[in-house]
């Protein structure tokens, strides 16, 4: 009788114990990752990503990654294409834009062409956010921006970048607006020459956003004021740096 009573307990507890044991096993397992220079620089660049060029370590690792871009892209292709969305995946996608080469443009294009992810359904009335899905979307949008950034540090790849962004915008999916925005930033006035690549539905992208005329006077005054303030701040910072 007692055995029968305890059976459901064991049935419930046993899987929990198994899961717990497995988790401990994973946590204690020695790392099989080789400590290659590439791994070291990737890890360091990501840990210093927030500081960017303000960190000498980041600058040094980024220089290494630029020299070994193809290997680094190969190393990062699995997390970009196969891992679920996470802040870590967004960081990797951002970093690729900082050092990437031709192979990075290809990788980001494949990533951008993947089908749009879908959020898990939430309970009715719940205000929950699907974090994994949101981070996946963040990474997709970052891929567009990272593609454009490659052209800024490798001008010889500008045409390939433009071609990829045009193709992304022409697909007309959720990345269209971002791709058009990046093209606009990258090409400046030249952007208008792309009108022929798009149909009339894309005309809104070619009309620069401006507030109504009654705001232009205030806008000009504020821009001038802020320009002066920023200049003063820069000079103050420079004098503080020189005093150190």
């Amino acid at each position: 009788m007692m055995g029968k009573v305890w059976f459901p307990w064991w049935a419930a507890v046993l899987p929990l114990l198994l899961v717990a044991t497995q988790s401990i096993g994973v946590a204690d397992a020695p790392s099989s990752v080789e400590h290659r220079p590439l791994t070291h620089h990737l890890g360091r660049a990501i840990s210093q990503l927030d500081q960017g060029s303000r960190s000498p370590e980041y600058t040094e690792s980024l220089a290494y990654l630029k020299l070994h871009a193809r290997e680094a892209v190969t190393e990062l292709s699995a997390p970009v294409l196969r891992e679920p969305g996470s802040l870590g995946k967004w960081q990797v996608t951002y970093l690729i834009g900082e050092f990437g080469d031709e192979s990075a443009i290809d990788l980001l294009r494949i990533f951008m062409e993947q089908p749009k992810p879908r959020a898990q359904p939430a309970r009715e009335g719940s205000h929950a956010t699907d974090l994994q899905f949101t981070e996946e979307m963040n990474s997709r949008f970052q891929a567009v921006s990272s593609t454009a950034r490659i052209a800024s540090h490798r001008p010889e790849l500008r045409d390939q970048v433009v071609e990829t962004l045009i193709a992304t915008a022409q697909r007309g999916d959720f990345l269209e607006d971002s791709a058009m925005f990046e093209l606009q930033k990258l090409l400046g006035d030249e952007f208008q020459s792309l009108r022929g690549y798009f149909g009339p539905e894309a005309s809104r992208h070619f009309e620069p956003f401006m507030p109504p005329p009654q705001w232009h006077g205030l806008l000009a005054r504020r821009m001038e004021k802020h320009r002066r303030e920023e200049q003063a701040l820069r000079e103050k910072r420079r004098s503080l740096c020189e005093a150190k």
Binding site: W9, Q51, E83, A119, L131, T134, N138, M180, H226, E229
Partner: protein
């Protein structure tokens, strides 16, 4: 036949007994117990402190096995302590307390005295309160005046708040009564990544308050945390709740941009953060890019009718914030009652 019936009854009795014991234990289990809140890792971490040192969780749910795949072992949340002026300045911390944290509940349980413990390897701030300070630091220092900004000026004084990034901290300060820290992880199921980040309670005859959950502290980076605060504050004294419609996010949706709700405010702040000068003393390129990614994602997901406005349309938000905020009349003609939410759709 009779023995089979008896066996069946015994089995049923046994199962009923187990269910009754389970229900009894569940009812009286304290909140940090395994059965009641199996994913309540922050409560466990606090309860399990060794010599007073808490092993704070860090994105445990978002990184399953990731480090084993590409060898990258260090993660951080875009909020290094050495980039945060509050970290070594009591004046700065006092300024941040003034956002409603001073009146908060639950912070003592989360280590209120300890705002500056940080991870030796990643240099990231560990404590929930420290991470909340980091969020506010983004609100405060996105505007170069920092703690010198007078947040008590009227919100329609756009000669003083002449950038959106100046206006936003004043808005947050003036519209917050109390902000609480909560150790719960409010997710759809155990191990789910579908979680509530924060919740605002408002209504007549009560003081509004904002509860921040574990997801806010440990699953979001500091830029997202900051925009979440702007979002929640819009729910608070402005009493602007989400609309009952379905969007890409599945919940917490607003009908459209011109609902002028929490999602609109959150996006305006992200756009303003993005449109800061490249040599900004506090905002690094990675943070700026993060804000753009969040803007694009949230714009795509959080509205039932997708806004036509794109991040490029906010290029002047730090020059003429009043144009973007529903605070002033669009015309000097007193008979024109149209407000300046010109970006409506």
């Amino acid at each position: 036949m009779r023995s089979q019936v008896k066996l069946g009854l015994n089995r049923a009795t046994g199962l009923l007994a187990v269910a009754a014991v389970g229900a009894f234990l569940y009812t009286f289990m304290p909140s940090c117990s395994m059965l009641a809140d199996a994913d309540d890792t922050l409560c466990f971490a606090i309860a399990d402190a060794k010599d007073g040192v808490v092993d704070w969780p860090d994105e445990e749910y978002l990184e399953p096995g990731y480090k084993n795949d590409c060898g990258i072992t260090d993660y951080h949340e875009c909020d290094h302590c050495d980039l945060n002026p509050w970290f070594l300045s009591q004046d700065d911390r006092d300024y941040i307390e003034g956002f409603g944290l001073a009146q908060g509940h639950g912070w003592a349980d989360l280590g209120r005295a300890d705002v500056m413990t940080f991870n030796e390897v990643t240099k990231e701030i560990d404590t929930p309160l420290g991470r909340t300070y980091n969020a506010y630091a983004n609100l405060v220092y996105a505007n170069p005046e920092g703690i010198e900004l007078d947040r008590s000026q009227a919100l329609d004084n756009f000669e003083y708040y002449d950038t959106f990034l100046k206006w936003a901290p004043a808005f947050v300060s003036q519209k917050t009564y109390r902000i609480n820290g909560n150790c719960n992880r409010d997710c759809e199921t155990v191990f789910s990544t579908n979680c509530v980040i924060a919740r605002t309670v408002h209504g007549p005859f009560r003081n509004d308050y904002i509860d921040l959950y574990q997801t806010f502290f440990y699953d979001l980076d500091a830029v997202w945390r900051a925009s979440t605060i702007v979002h929640e504050v819009r729910h608070a004294r402005d009493r602007n709740s989400h609309n009952a419609c379905v969007c890409g996010n599945g919940s917490a949706c607003d009908f459209r941009w011109s609902s002028n709700g929490a999602n609109t405010y959150e996006l305006m702040w992200l756009a303003a953060y993005y449109w800061t000068p490249e040599d900004h003393p506090f905002i690094t390129p990675a943070r700026r890019e993060r804000a753009a990614s969040l803007f694009n994602t949230r714009r795509d997901l959080m509205f039932c009718e997708k806004p036509r406005w794109r991040i490029g349309d906010f290029i002047h938000i730090n020059e003429i914030p009043e144009y973007y905020v529903e605070q002033v009349a669009c015309s000097e003609d007193p008979s024109n009652t149209h407000y300046c939410l010109v970006l409506a759709n």
